[in-house]
């Protein structure tokens, strides 16, 4: 029998073929997830409709209210839709991508032992986690968010320049990375204790809700906190202000509007550094 013909992972190989292998494997894992979920057709359909309804209800609330008062702290409905659509789109995409790191899912894997199963397979651990909880049912929310965003873009009369496109796309990417980072941190914390999950949720979901609305509606304290302490304002608020041709607050330089694709990945990198610490801790305790 010819054992030598099996190329062992971890062997030296071209960067390209390694990337192709990993991408292919990721795709296969996602497909396995999708196929698994397709088994439960009814619950899938209910989830898909249900989660879309929540988004719809949330948006409908200010779609009905704002026109009565004209604006919300100086923001028209179209402008709010732009901000809300961006945040919702990014968050749903992030949820799809980073679902495996979400604390309940990850701690579930640790408790059920499937985390050990991942460790026993010769594929990168993070790749396996990325491919472990792909909630396809959220797809309806992606479309809905895209719709709200499209409405926001057209209603707020944005002039389509390459710069505007760059700012908005960068904002979405930055938010995906930023909130993905929060998911990774929350998941990593469960290596130590599941009691931390609630506190982390406040940050993640609270942060998400917070940046769905214009920061003008918040008081000084909150606004400063989310600009300088937790740099969430850089993610969508500043880029949108700039796209709408408004000045940035506190006399911040225009550069601040372009930092979303930098702030997000920095957060994610820090989160993965913490993740490595968590995985090392897991190797010490096994729980």
């Amino acid at each position: 029998m010819d054992k030598s013909s099996i190329s062992r992972p971890g062997q030296r190989e071209g960067l390209f073929s390694s990337a192709v292998y990993h991408l292919h494997l990721y795709f296969l894992l996602l497909r396995a997830q999708a196929r698994s979920q397709a088994v439960y057709r009814l619950s899938f359909a209910l989830d898909a409709v249900g989660s879309a309804l929540i988004t719809l209800a949330e948006f409908a609330a200010f779609a009905l209210v704002i026109p009565r008062f004209g604006t919300l702290s100086g923001w028209t409905l179209g402008e709010v839709a732009l901000l809300y659509g961006l945040a919702e789109l990014a968050f749903v995409l992030m949820d799809l991508l980073f679902g495996g790191f979400d604390a309940p899912n990850l701690s579930g894997h640790v408790r059920s032992g499937s985390f050990n199963t991942f460790l026993l397979r010769p594929a990168p651990l993070r790749l396996q986690i990325f491919g472990s909880d792909f909630a396809l049912r959220r797809i309806t929310r992606v479309f809905l968010a895209a719709g709200i965003l499209a409405y926001g873009v057209s209603a707020s009369g944005i002039v389509w320049t390459p710069e505007a496109a760059f700012l908005l796309a960068g904002s979405v990417l930055g938010m995906i990375a930023f909130f993905g980072g929060l998911f990774v941190i929350g998941g990593t914390l469960t290596f130590w204790t599941v009691e931390s999950v609630e506190a982390m949720n406040v940050l993640t979901y609270g942060g998400r809700t917070l940046i769905s609305y214009p920061m003008d509606i918040y008081g000084q304290f909150l606004r400063k906190t989310f600009t300088y302490l937790l740099p969430a304002a850089f993610l969508s608020y500043f880029p949108v202000l700039h796209v709408l041709g408004r000045p940035l607050p506190d006399g911040l330089p225009l550069l601040a509007a372009y930092l979303s694709p930098l702030v997000g990945p920095l957060m994610l990198a820090a989160a993965f550094a913490f993740w490595s610490v968590g995985v090392r801790h897991y190797g010490g305790t096994g729980t």
Binding site: L28, G113, L120
Partner: protein, 321 residues
């Protein structure tokens, strides 16, 4: 293949909440050393909580030990995870590696990609294992719908599809019926013989060990009590052999010189002896008229139980130090 020197693993067990409450250090494995050669099957025994699974988790790279040297096929398991696990297969009796909602063959197909098994090799192995383990009837069934025995067989196939050099089995027959157990033992013997797969197996079923392993290691409270041939374990620590004698009539005095009287029940008397049976039989037949004689071998089960209970070897191990 496997070398373990002075392996030690402790767990910090928390009592009470995160902030208040104390932690206790639990020595799951303390100062364990052994080595396993290529192609061996080693049975790893010990009572609940002895440290068997902890040892296996260190060897498979899931846990990092406190101290000690461990190499498996030249690699340190927890340092070079991916290269290490590519060469081993592992089955933990209580868990499955299969995708819960996918048909078995789709799970196996996914693992083919994870381990990068060439297509032709995969087909060949799948054909072999399907035949040996009779996977055919449930290859299209999702893992969640399999019986325990079926799931175990599918998991064994999944663990061996990539031609690993090493197979770790943690209680592979737990909860299975006799027929299912036998099928799994037969399969493990087969892959060991034909594919030179080294096997380390923990179990509470001595039948597994008797059928599979020539060598056993016994661990209790984190320390190795015995490492050697199964046969000599019996010779050294087994209870004496037993002679069951049916006399023509109940003897007035059942005592026979040179034999230990174990019990008398009317004409049936039981004696204990060591060594060959010829002399005791001659003595008994000379003692009184005999209708029937049987020699009963001590059960390995009883031997092991005595070791666990009496700490028989623990004293011996302490003396050696």
């Amino acid at each position: 293949m496997i070398t373990v020197q002075n392996l030690k693993k402790t767990f910090r067990v928390r009592r009470g909440g995160l902030l208040r409450g104390s932690s206790v250090v639990m020595e799951a494995v303390r100062d364990v050393s052994f080595s396993v050669g290529r192609g061996e099957i080693v049975g790893y025994l010990g009572p609940n909580g002895a440290g068997k699974s902890t040892t296996i988790k260190v060897l498979t790279g899931l846990l990092v030990p406190d101290s000690g040297q461990v190499t498996v096929g030249g690699l340190v398991p927890w340092k070079d995870r991916r290269a290490h696990v590519a060469r081993l297969g592992a089955v933990f009796g209580q868990r499955t590696t299969l995708w819960w909602d996918l048909p078995v063959h789709e799970s196996l197909e996914l693992l083919r990609h994870v381990y990068r098994v060439p297509e032709a090799r995969f087909r060949q192995n799948l054909r072999d294992f399907t035949e040996l383990l009779e996977l055919g009837p449930f290859l299209n069934t999702p893992a969640r719908a399999l019986s325990l025995g079926q799931r175990m067989r599918a998991d064994l196939a999944a663990a061996l599809l990539h031609d690993p050099e090493l197979l770790f089995l943690d209680e592979p027959t737990v909860g299975l019926d006799v027929v299912a157990k036998e099928r799994i033992r037969e399969f493990v013997r087969h892959v060991n013989a034909t594919r030179e797969v080294t096997v380390l197996l923990t179990t509470h079923d001595l039948g597994d060990v008797e059928r599979l392993a020539r060598r056993v290691m016994i661990i209790d409270h984190g320390s190795l009590l015995y490492d050697g041939a199964l046969a000599s374990l019996q010779a050294r620590y087994g209870s004496p052999r037993e002679l069951v004698v049916d006399y023509e009539a109940a003897p007035t005095d059942p005592q026979v010189p040179g034999l230990t009287l174990l019990g008398a029940d009317g004409p049936r008397v039981r004696y204990g002896f060591t060594g060959a049976a010829a002399t005791p039989i001659a003595r008994v037949t000379a003692h009184a008229p005999v209708r029937d004689i049987a020699v009963k071998e001590p059960e390995i089960e009883a031997t092991i139980r005595r070791i666990y209970e009496g700490g028989l070897l623990r004293d011996a191990a302490l003396l050696k130090r």
